[in-house]
Symmetry: C2
Subunit: 415 residues, 2 copies
């Protein structure tokens, strides 16, 4: 990063950015700096075209025939393998289906089944909550089991992992602080204790290199509507290491997981491979939107994404601290690069109101109670100039006292 | 029905059909008679428009803000209530989410939890298989439980229901034969034995009146891509009678089922109402397609649908038997109106080949192994003229010997 953070220096960073041209693959509204791609990625002209083709030609004209002629039936597998390339998974281990929550259930249940003598799930109190809720759901079906939480039962998750641990359920990047865990190290630690790992990679898939195969991960689950830009509520994915596929069982044993789904047999016989982790019929329109969105990754290497992500977040932290000092902001994300995901969170006593003011001025991030402003940095379509502009607006909002009363009034109206 | 089945008489039936104008709400390819709306309903111009608006305006321009401003978050509830009107359910008992398979799991699990001292699920060997597979999944998590099947453990399901029965899991209309069960009578029989019912209404929702509230049904699950025309793989729905909602528990306890999903609390506290049966984020594009598809029901009463459905299936049976006698067809659907859903199945020794020949000639039904041809009759967009034409083509195919060798060759190539 250049030492003097002039606008000219920042524009030079954009000019030298190898990912700069990728931005053209996305549709971004005029006058918006979008720092919430870690919640919902943007659309693209390719997605609009694909949706129209799927709806008018495949569904409208092809009707039922398109299940075979248009390849709908295999979409969960073909899209799974394409995501596999982005998360360090060889083909045949990733399938796109259902929701993150449902896939957490499958993975945790399967992992506990592979360690039947061990009664404990170890997780994080700071986890994205649905992971904990789904683990509670699994535990509700297995007597004598329980969950231990980092932040409640011990300060560090490593101290909770022992010979009673069946599963370590952990977020690769924390949804709130953006803190990045060392996936390889914690996986090794769990394996040394004889436990299995389930990684939630919702906030790392498409944001940074995730080397599932190389780290010997057992299970991973992620969503496709954040950094993968699949569209609102696009189906999630589940990764199951090939070595576990034959033995692992998950109770959501629907016909799409059957070895012979169209034989209509009265008893369930699971597929021997990754298909066993499917359950029922998937929403084809949403799958097709995801398919087109994945085209944006063509020619993109995750190492380049990570490099730009760190440069964007470095720049944001540095500019904010240089220009917005003394107005109540506290950095909540790790300053250390190796522990930082692709977002930056700042706490502020009036975080909700400040974020509303930013959004009204076209800088879209989000708010997490009680006092966190999250800013997501997505290297495929953000420029260094965007970062500069966002900080300009943030400074303006923070240094203007007038917003406070205005925003309190808005909040009262909303709640 | 007119006694003399001339084409003129049939055209007179179309002219007098009060549902005739509804056909204009759908997009049907030229030259096709579509008798597979019981597998995948057709598209409509309204759906294309809604998809484009959702993708370009709400997602593309609105981005994350549309979760609130465009009402995405409440779609499962608002669409659930709209489907409720078609299945005899007062508002607040139906939610659109996940897949039929997943919702069967929730319903069966919840029902067993409400009858903890009872170890048996009673179901049908002829059930759509995924229902049995999901019930097996539930049983795999509950020791000492088992399933008894009509057609295996007794000829009639009524004989299997006793004081050990927790749940009767049953299809309202059989997917293969089109046989219709008496929902009210079987529900009463189950309740008399102290058991609960889970009705699979995939093949009756949108096909005929389903009086869930009036029959005192406990749980029901159905899909939206057949008679409701929601599009390929559109999300399913689950109905939970209000009297069970507070007490019933389902283990797929994701954040969308939490009483306060955005409080991000570390423990699950289920919503007191139907929202508890949601789990994770739903595919908005597919939900929006369903929303537009449901507009086609405006002003349509299910009694009129049923009347036309029976007239269509009566006509089909009568024409086929009048014109295709002596060529190996056997009626597999009930001749009795009260036991017939909205499809007609015929067995034929070369059912696969005959169906392929029909599809090539633009009459689309489907095949179910080993020897069933299914023809679905969907009153919103089929005419009596369509039925006439379909039988014309069927007769032509069946009376032409040449197709046999041709079709055997095709089958070999396909398998």
């Amino acid at each position: 990063m250049p030492r003097a953070l002039t606008l000219a220096a920042i524009e030079a960073m954009d000019a030298a950015d190898p990912l700069g041209p990728i931005r053209e693959r996305f549709t971004l509204p005029e006058g918006i700096v979008y720092l919430d791609g870690n919640s919902l990625g943007p659309a693209s002209p390719a997605v609009f075209g694909e949706l129209e083709k799927t709806a008018r030609d495949e569904w409208g004209e092809g009707l039922i025939r398109s299940w075979n002629t248009a390849g709908w039936f295999d979409l969960p597998i073909t899209l799974g393998d394409r995501i596999g390339r982005l998360i360090g998974a060889e083909p045949g281990q990733t399938v796109v289906c259902d929701t993150t929550s449902i896939n957490i259930y499958k993975a945790v249940h399967a992992a506990m089944g592979l360690r039947p003598e061990r009664p404990v799930i170890v997780a994080e109190a700071s986890s994205f909550p649905t992971d904990l809720y789904m683990a509670e759901g699994v535990l509700s079906t297995r007597t004598g089991t329980r969950m231990l939480l980092e932040g409640v039962d011990a300060p560090a998750i490593e101290d909770l992992i022992d010979e009673r641990t069946a599963v370590v359920l952990v977020n690769h990047v924390n949804y709130k602080s953006g803190e990045l865990r060392d996936l390889a190290v914690l996986t090794r630690r769990a394996h040394e204790a004889g436990a299995l790992v389930v990684w939630d990679i919702c906030h790392s898939a498409g944001a940074l290199p995730v080397e599932l195969d190389r780290a010997n991960v057992d299970f991973a689950v992620g969503c496709t509507y954040k950094y993968l830009n699949g569209g609102p509520g696009s189906p999630a994915f589940i990764y199951v290491a090939r070595r576990h596929q034959a033995e692992a069982l998950q109770p959501l044993s629907g016909w799409w997981g059957h070895a012979r789904p169209f034989a209509f047999e009265p008893h369930f016989h699971g597929d021997a491979g990754i298909r066993k982790f499917q359950c029922g019929t998937q929403p084809v329109l949403s799958l097709r939107a995801l398919q087109a969105a994945l085209d944006a990754w063509e020619g993109v290497e995750m190492t380049a994404v990570r490099e730009k992500s760190l440069a964007l977040t470095d720049l944001f932290i540095r500019l904010v601290e240089a220009r917005c000092g003394g107005v109540g902001l506290t950095l909540e994300s790790p300053r250390e690069r190796a522990r930082r995901g692709s977002q930056v969170s700042f706490a502020h006593p009036h975080a909700y109101e400040v974020m509303q003011a930013l959004i009204e001025r076209g800088v879209i991030g989000d708010f997490r109670a009680p006092s966190t402003m999250r800013f997501g940095f997505t290297p495929l379509y953000l420029s260094y100039r965007d970062v500069w502009y966002a900080v300009e607006v943030l400074e303006e909002v923070l240094r203007t006292e007038a917003w406070r009363e205005e925003r309190f009034a808005v909040r009262a109206a909303v709640t």
